[in-house]
Point group: D2
């Protein structure tokens, strides 16, 4: 990439959620104007149901008169003085790529899609490691220059709990911004759901809340639905019940058996996960309670 283009494309991104009240927009806008910031994207949402306010603002890094750390300090001071104590915010720098660890099992479609995006420089982060509970995707991963770690789940000498301890060690070693369960097919222990809260992202192969749990395409086939879907969501301790980031569907008909649904479903799983991960890494997803606000 041309260094000048790269500089022009670099953004500081502020995302914030807080109890709604008059004047927040003006205060943030004033703050950014004082810093000389050239806003390239600004989105707001005022949730009448929870009375919560959400915003995401991206500014050109080269328009701001200080570093991102200094800007963060200044904003912290502002927030401490003027914003409600429950306010949650972060200020990130697109010039410091986010780190991503991917957990997989045997299915390759989501993994290869994400690796392909990274290779053609359209992935807004760096895939620093892939952890698999089978060896089958190891070679594929390494072909793309990404380290692969095998933590087998069928080893009689290693308990399931112990296997997760090993996975957690590998993941936490990278301190990633996202832990992507790319058809990982294993339920995360509650303490990992807790530890990776709002960072662990799963793709479920149904249009949730329909067909929670195992073999959703078999469930969909049995019910005779006319659309099948996929859901990208944050992982929580309650199975398939975390805040939804993105969903989409495709049409099926009576000519499609379960195997056809599995095959066609892969395409929608792949797209929905890729979109969800992108939005997460670009700080477009704000979580409040059981739901998300997505400034796409």
């Amino acid at each position: 990439m041309n260094p000048d283009t790269a500089a022009a494309d670099r953004r500081f991104v502020l995302s914030l959620g807080c109890p709604d009240t008059t004047g927040i927009v003006a205060r943030i806008a004033g703050f950014l104007a004082d810093a000389g910031a050239w806003i390239t994207e600004a989105a707001y949402h005022s949730d009448e149901d929870t009375n919560w306010f959400f915003t995401r603002q991206a500014v050109r890094a080269d328009s701001v008169d200080c570093t991102v750390d200094e800007l963060r300090e200044r904003f912290a001071a502002l927030a401490a003085q003027h914003f409600h104590p429950d306010t949650e915010w972060r200020l990130t720098d697109s010039g410091a790529p986010k780190k991503v660890v991917i957990l997989v099992s045997k299915e390759s479609h989501c993994l290869i899609d994400l690796l392909g995006r990274a290779q053609r420089d359209e992935f807004p982060g760096e895939i620093v490691a892939v952890v698999g509970n089978h060896s089958s995707l190891g070679e594929l991963t390494e072909r793309f220059g990404v380290p692969f770690h095998l933590v087998a789940f069928d080893d009689p000498d290693v308990s399931r709990d112990e296997a997760f301890v090993r996975i957690a060690a590998i993941v936490d070693d990278h301190d990633p911004d996202a832990v992507v369960l790319a058809r990982f097919m294993q339920i995360l222990p509650a303490q990992l759901c807790e530890r990776w809260a709002r960072r662990a992202i799963n793709i479920h192969h149904s249009f949730l809340p329909s067909f929670v749990g195992a073999r959703p395409y078999h469930q969909a086939f049995a019910r005779g639905v006319k659309l099948i879907g996929a859901t990208c969501h944050y992982v929580t301790a309650e199975l398939d019940a975390g805040p939804i980031i993105e969903q989409d569907v495709i049409r099926v008909d009576h000519g499609d058996n379960v195997a056809d649904m599995v095959r066609q479903g892969r395409d929608i799983e792949t797209l929905v996960l890729a979109r969800g991960v992108r939005w997460h890494l670009e700080d477009r997803v704000l979580v409040h309670g059981a739901k998300t606000v997505v400034f796409d």
Copy 2:
């Protein structure tokens, strides 16, 4: 319509489901060829899960060397001799319009859409009556020249059971090919589900099996789904569990509150019901067990 065009557009439609075996296609094709029939649409489905065979064939009425009644007699003879006793079939004549009774409550969108289609001659049937449990849609219905029958559910002198007896009397008086619950908002008693089996068609305002029962948009809002949907299905005694004819979805986002979902959902309810009713009236929907085959 030009009488010549009308004659050319008239179809005899054979639809059939039976246990699958070799030679069915040949036997039906031979039968139609013997009758001189010019096939304009032919669709087949062989269901490997249930080992059931389905077909729908439309032929030009003016190509057949006999009346629809005679053709029906001949086919009955063929079926009796060669087809499995569980075979279900019907042979209908598009020149004899299907009769439709619509049940409504207060919501007008589905009703006005169906009346509008009938008025512009794109509805494949005749709306012979509308029954409402409120008076609010009476004037609208009559403006379109269709009789409206009020069977109030809030009359203290009339029990709910008695009200359904009255509704059933009105409906059955027409012996309709379809009883369309166009946001009727009342649960049909089991004996009416039975009596109108495969003729009673409901529109549910969610993407079933998500959000069964009351207030599905409230349920969808609470769960934070990114798409909302509608489902057209045959009514059975188990609530919202009948064979699905058609479904579709639209995208919503965090900016949409329940009222927005209700409003936007109407558009998809309207379309999904209109498609489902059309396919039913054109004998495109074959039911087997809990599922449908739709030859659209």
Copy 3:
């Protein structure tokens, strides 16, 4: 509607476009905060291609310390002092319903849909008149309590130009906020395109820029496309080339002849026009050059 709800739902809506520069957001936010305004929706767009800035902000009317006229005056003062002379803005009051005149020919589907929305109180404006160049939709219109004006185009004593003079007189008499060509099928004279610029809205029955001009479904059928579409756009002197407000498509296949496309296309024309008109009336559509920004 409950008067309290109505009051809470009333909005003042500011929409603005101007050359982009640092500090606009802060200035507008400050202005609204000074007026005590409770922002319920705020959207921004900074167009890097044209270096133009766009915003739309909706505030609760009952949160502002003055009338909409006073607020407009104050904003005019601010704009005169601080904003570029090319700035275009308006400040509207959802409590003062927008007026809409609809132009039709013989096709009823868009008209009946818009009348139905108005009847069920989901139309963000008032349909004050319908003008038809055939009498066929007169009775339908009047059933909904809306005046219908016939300006026949097949009267040998009235030239086409004269007919448009009469139409313009009827339309301009209402000074409407939108002139909706609901399958009007006539090309507006250039001077009416000019006079009703950014108010005249057409629905074209193709996915523009494909299939400009007459009989787009015939064109689509001949080309063998797999999707057909509809486009809602502002009318300009160049045929079917005005700024696009909304588009959508539906799938067709080899089984669909031109008549099937016409029938199925109506559903998408209806939806696309309804969405486009809604967004226009809610001041969600900002035009710049040949394109629109839609804050939906």
Copy 4:
């Protein structure tokens, strides 16, 4: 794959197009019944516009009493005796995988998607070679075990014509069932369009017939369309005008610049090409004149 499953899944596929007349269905059905064939899929289309008849029938290979070669001979005899001389038909064996050569330039998304499908055994053919006019995708291709051939177009000693001679030699050496232009970005010479007629498949990055030729996303951005699309079509000598196999679209808005459209468009190009190639290889696409019938 389990050998028993593989045997049960093997199909003989008959596809046929001919002038429409009464009795074709019966004759083919009788022929298949005589051969003991168990039909698993059967589709028919009678085109009233061209008076052409199309069918595709898949039968279980293990149900037929002879080899595919013998069945082909028998059908040839039937066709010679009873069908119109303009009849086109083929009878293929899914047990004999189709061969595919892919032509690429620098863009990796379609290539990696097709290679990934092949690797996970969901591609209905064998990718026997990739030919690139740049070296950039060579390593990626070879990682998947597929031979890569470089035919540089920027070599001053090799004319464009000569380069195409080399490409043709490589391609024809494999006698492939499909030549897939996976964002090849070069216009095929007319004689190759002719030689590979109905086998050369291109993906164009617009919703044709909109935005023919170069830089369609730039054209789409300039026009302000609200959806962008992709089109998979057979290559003919007239640029971007060949019979369309498949199309799809995704929504864009004012926030998407050309680079965003390029990125998002890749997802839809990838899917549309994959679907089109699958249908072609499964003999689901029948061409007649400038259009296709797709029995998907």
